[in-house]
């Protein structure tokens, strides 16, 4: 029953500080709108030079096809490779597409011809993706050509099996879809991690904690009254962000909503308890903020949010097992994008559940009413 009065107090204080509600409302709008537009790994508008040594109708068509794609802009038609390379060196171009002399002739008579793709790999992602996009377009082109002219490779019956990539779950390789659940997780970890960390220690600085500690209030009730408001904030941010993702990008989670909420609730318990633990051990707000900053930065960088866990060294992959954010991001991505169900994600739920129990109990125990 005491809890009712404590919660009333916490909610009043939280909502009266107008900055907090403003952040709860504006941060998701900013994150959902802005970040998917800017934090993208998609490569578009790659600049390329062409060196057409054949100057035939077919080679012209190929150039046109490449230039017509979203991914490439033709910036110069060069007469030889050296000239094209100068464009690369000066930074005007990212890739060169060179077509051999007799391209059309060989294509018709032998059924195959060569093109050379050179791309600047100083920016690895750009280089790699650029050449793979080019390859794809050329494959497409040759297939089209065969269909149109019935060119058959009579010399080589074993036509190379064509490699076709089909991306599951995120069919168009749209980076925004991939970002949305990760952004939700990031907002939750920042807001629901930081606010409780500043809360109890804030009462210590103001001196109000004395007046609380001298009452017969239970530690369990007190900690619960500090956790529940942040659960509500977290659940609000989740719902609001999912709504925004739907309104702005038209994304809806593929998995069941209640499973998303279940995971979020458990995760929020972990992260808000952690904040309270830090708050309990700190004596100034500055201390608490710095310690929390330390944890959150490591959690975010080691979570697979920005870089895939699979590409981390083995020891680092082991460490990420102790990162609650890693399990949550795994779960919420799987739920949002792949539509996994609860049974697929039981390992993650077990991890998060045991983290939650530990941190919650720790938060209660570390709150000391007398020293």
């Amino acid at each position: 029953m005491i809890l009712k009065y404590l919660l009333e107090k916490e909610f009043k204080q939280m909502l009266r500080n107008w900055i907090l509600p403003a952040v709860f409302l504006l941060l998701p709008i900013a994150m959902m709108n802005l970040v998917p537009r800017v934090a993208t790994q998609e490569v578009r508008g790659l600049k390329f030079c062409s060196v057409d040594n054949d100057r035939s109708t077919t080679s012209g068509k190929l150039m046109e096809k490449v230039a017509a794609s979203d991914f490439f802009d033709l910036i110069a038609i060069c007469t030889n490779y050296e000239e094209a390379l100068r464009h690369i060196e000066s930074g005007d171009a990212d890739a060169i597409l060179e077509i051999e002399p007799d391209f059309e002739h060989r294509l018709i008579s032998e059924g195959k011809a060569r093109v050379q793709i050179s791309s600047n790999a100083v920016n690895g992602v750009k280089g790699g993706l650029g050449s793979s996009y080019l390859t794809q377009i050329i494959n497409d082109f040759s297939k089209q050509l065969r269909n149109e002219h019935g060119i058959l490779n009579t010399h080589n019956v074993n036509i190379d099996p064509e490699v076709r990539q089909r991306y599951l779950y995120n069919v168009n390789l749209d980076y925004k879809i991939f970002m949305v659940p990760a952004l939700i997780a990031m907002m939750l970890v920042l807001i629901v991690g930081f606010l409780p960390a500043l809360n109890i220690v804030g009462e210590k600085e103001k001196g109000t904690i004395e007046q609380i500690n001298v009452t017969p209030i239970g530690r369990f009730d007190f900690i619960l009254s500090k956790l529940i408001p942040y659960w509500c904030v977290g659940i609000f941010i989740l719902s609001y962000s999912m709504l925004l993702a739907h309104l702005i990008w038209g994304f809806t989670p593929a998995g069941k909503l209640w499973v998303i909420y279940l995971f979020t609730t458990v995760f929020l318990l972990v992260i808000s308890s952690l904040g309270l633990i830090v708050s309990n051990y700190s004596s100034t707000i500055r201390q608490a903020a710095l310690v929390m900053f330390f944890f959150l930065v490591i959690f975010i960088l080691m979570s697979g949010l920005l870089t895939p866990i699979m590409s981390m060294p083995q020891w680092a992959q082991m460490l990420t097992q102790f990162n609650p954010l890693r399990h949550f991001i795994e779960a919420i991505r799987a739920l949002y994008l792949r539509g996994s169900n609860l049974t697929d994600l039981l390992p993650q739920l077990t991890y998060l559940g045991s983290f939650a129990t530990t941190t919650w109990l720790w938060a209660i125990i570390s709150y000391k009413k007398n020293t």
Binding site: I2, K9, K12, N17, E210, V214, T215, P216, K369, N370
Partner: protein
């Protein structure tokens, strides 16, 4: 039940090598106004925090309202009120909301809180300010409110740590009237102060020097013992021997 509200036996608190409160022994009778005097740094606040169950004694023992402050701290807390040196109500809650919060924490019902709050606010002349944020009140009002709140749940004993620090003489006078009212209701008052005129209002006073209680008696007996005319002179005679407060 004993006739004492507070019993301390060899109560000691050390922080590392520093002994803040050094084996103090005293009793406070029920219904008494007990003045707990001492220079800055004499160990008054530390002693009071131990009696309130905010700080665990390093040595010795004490009972407050019949409960051991170390083993039964939560029972002690059910029976006491506490007003700390630093104003510690919630600045960002209104007068009414602070009353509601602390009433609720002590298990009072909503109706009970409302009824008592109305009574209290009209007594203090604060009815018009009931919806004002506590942070906006002038210091004198804050102190009176903090005191009223510390006895809102009708505790057996109330601990006041320099309740009139920085308050004007008129307000101090009014404040002591409130203390007398509380004592009339049977609440034992344990109060620290630096004002020697206030020491005269107490039934008995103790004077701490460097963590130890150097004198304990009624104000008139103390003056007689030191053959001086005022409590100020008694205090001065004792406190100037202090080695700690010099800084």
């Amino acid at each position: 039940m004993s006739e004492y509200a507070i019993v301390a036996e060899g109560l000691t608190k050390t922080f590392g090598t520093f002994t803040a409160t050094d084996h103090i022994t005293f009793e406070v009778r029920k219904g008494e106004i007990f003045g707990f005097l001492g220079a800055n740094g004499a160990g008054k606040t530390t002693a009071m925090r131990m009696l309130c169950g905010l700080s665990r004694p390093s040595e010795g023992r004490a009972t407050v309202a019949g409960f051991d402050v170390e083993r039964e701290a939560e029972q002690v807390k059910r029976n006491i009120g506490y007003m700390s040196q630093k104003f510690s109500l919630y600045d960002d809650l209104t007068v009414e909301e602070n009353l509601r919060l602390f009433g609720g924490i002590y298990g009072m019902t909503s109706a009970d809180i409302k009824h008592k709050a109305n009574h209290l606010l009209s007594n203090l002349g604060l009815t018009d300010l009931r919806k004002a944020m506590v942070g906006r009140l002038p210091l004198g009002w804050k102190q009176k409110l903090a005191f009223s709140l510390s006895i809102f749940h009708n505790p057996k004993i109330v601990f006041l740590d320099e309740p009139t620090g920085g308050v004007d003489p008129v307000t101090r006078r009014q404040f002591w009237e409130l203390i007398y009212e509380a004592a009339d209701r049977g609440i034992t008052v344990f109060v620290t102060t630096h004002y020697m005129d206030e020491a005269e209002y107490c039934d008995r006073v103790s004077i701490m020097v460097d963590g130890k209680i150097e004198a304990l008696d009624t104000p008139s007996q103390l003056k007689k013992n030191f053959s001086v005319g005022t409590m100020y002179e008694v205090f001065y005679a004792l406190a100037r021997k202090a080695k700690r407060g010099a800084g």
